[in-house]
């Protein structure tokens, strides 16, 4: 049996090692596998479906896993008119999503209430949820949703993920290292 020399082992993995910040690695993993919670409430949901289908193919961005289960989701895409009757249900579904989580307000209605200046319609989902990306349009084209998703990916890649997730551990590490 040939003996494994330390030098030989090192040469094998040489070139396969990358040095990076832990945040960058974590964010890279997160942003390329955003599982959406499809909150389809009106016509925007049709464009959301088109975005997921073959022509526009949201899976190119790792966001094709649309299941109606909030507990496995990372990003809620609020696609459509949020009525007051639905508003608290949307919030409840958002609360069931595990951290970290993001929200895309897709289209004019989800962003501002849109053309529905009405007693029945919530004037923007940002009154209930922290929205990360707003997409204009009525409804937005699939390209616009993809652009919004890429904007969200950019935003995620800038986040201090480790510090957000484990503030105490990050503090302790800083103490040790300084």
């Amino acid at each position: 049996m040939p003996e494994t020399h330390a030098t030989a082992y090192d040469s094998k993995i040489e070139g396969n090692v990358i040095f990076t910040r832990f945040d960058a690695a974590l964010n890279w993993v997160r942003k390329n596998s955003l599982w959406p919670m499809p909150m389809g409430l009106a016509c925007c949901a049709i464009e959301l479906m088109a975005t997921a289908a073959s022509r526009f193919d949201i899976s190119r961005f790792g966001a094709e896993v649309m299941r109606f289960s909030p507990r496995q989701c990372d990003v809620m895409i609020v696609a459509g008119t949020v009525t007051y009757k639905m508003a608290l249900a949307v919030k409840r579904i958002y609360e069931q999503m595990p951290e970290p989580k993001w929200v895309i307000a897709m289209g004019a209605c989800a962003s501002t209430g849109g053309m529905y200046r009405s007693y029945a319609v919530l004037q923007g989902i940002d009154q209930l949820l922290p929205v990360d990306v707003y997409i204009s349009g009525c409804p937005p084209r699939p390209e616009a949703l993809l652009a919004g998703l890429m904007k969200l990916q950019e935003k995620i890649s800038r986040q201090p993920a480790f510090k957000d997730q484990q503030p105490q551990l990050a503090e302790k590490l800083e103490e040790v290292l300084t």
Binding site: Y84, K85, A87, L88, M115, R117, S118, Y119, A120, V121
Partner: protein, 206 residues
């Protein structure tokens, strides 16, 4: 067997013109039909609220108005009686329309249901209850249909503001007053172009 048996009955319906059919309603309920308007061959009768069920049953069984297209309610705010309900009937065999109109004062505020005569009236009556606050006696399931149970207002009444009113039911729903700066966002009837007619923000300065 069924087509052969069914065909003569259908023909006997067709022998009566829709005009004759509706006139037979006039004969049977003389004195109860308050007045008749005719517009483009479609006839509207004004009736009293107490006669609604008798007339509705007669229209369905004897005149074969088998299809209730719609029930609409009108709020003539400031007039007495305040509300007006319109039943839009259609007869499949005669291909004829008939409308029944009745007026209802706010103090009465309730009307007999026709949901056992035309089952489709069930949801129409629920919507009228939800939006106008008119109750229907004998309705099997008179709950709100669009807004939630416990919502305190009737939004299609004329005294309900366009921007809505605030309400709050913890864990169920809430409403806020809608900002209407630059509004109201309603169509402006005129012969001008669509840019001037359509509902859009019109700031005062312009």
């Amino acid at each position: 067997m069924t087509p052969a048996g069914g065909a003569p009955a259908l023909q006997s319906h067709n022998q009566m013109t829709s005009q004759e059919v509706i006139e037979s309603l006039g004969k049977s309920f003389e004195g109860k039909l308050q007045h008749k308007t005719e517009f483009r061959g479609e006839i509207t009768y004004a009736i009293g609220e107490s006669d609604l069920r008798d007339i509705a049953k007669f229209c369905r069984d004897k005149l074969s108005f088998d299809y209730l297209l719609d029930i609409t309610s009108i709020d003539n705010f400031g007039e007495e009686p305040r509300f007006e309900i319109v039943y839009h009937l259609y007869s499949m065999p005669h291909a004829a329309h008939l409308r029944l109109k009745l007026k209802l004062s706010e103090d009465v505020g309730a009307l007999d249901t026709v949901s056992d005569i035309w089952p489709t009236a069930n949801w129409h009556e629920r919507e009228i209850y939800d939006m106008m606050g008119i109750k229907f006696n004998g309705h099997p399931d008179l709950r709100r249909i669009l807004m939630w149970d416990g919502y305190p207002f009737f939004p299609l009444r004329k005294d309900f503001p366009l921007a809505g009113l605030p309400s709050d039911m913890p864990d169920v729903a809430f409403t806020k007053v809608t900002p209407l700066e630059g509004g109201p966002f309603v169509t402006v009837p005129s012969t001008a172009g669509s840019k001037d007619r359509e509902p859009r923000a019109r700031p005062r300065e312009l």
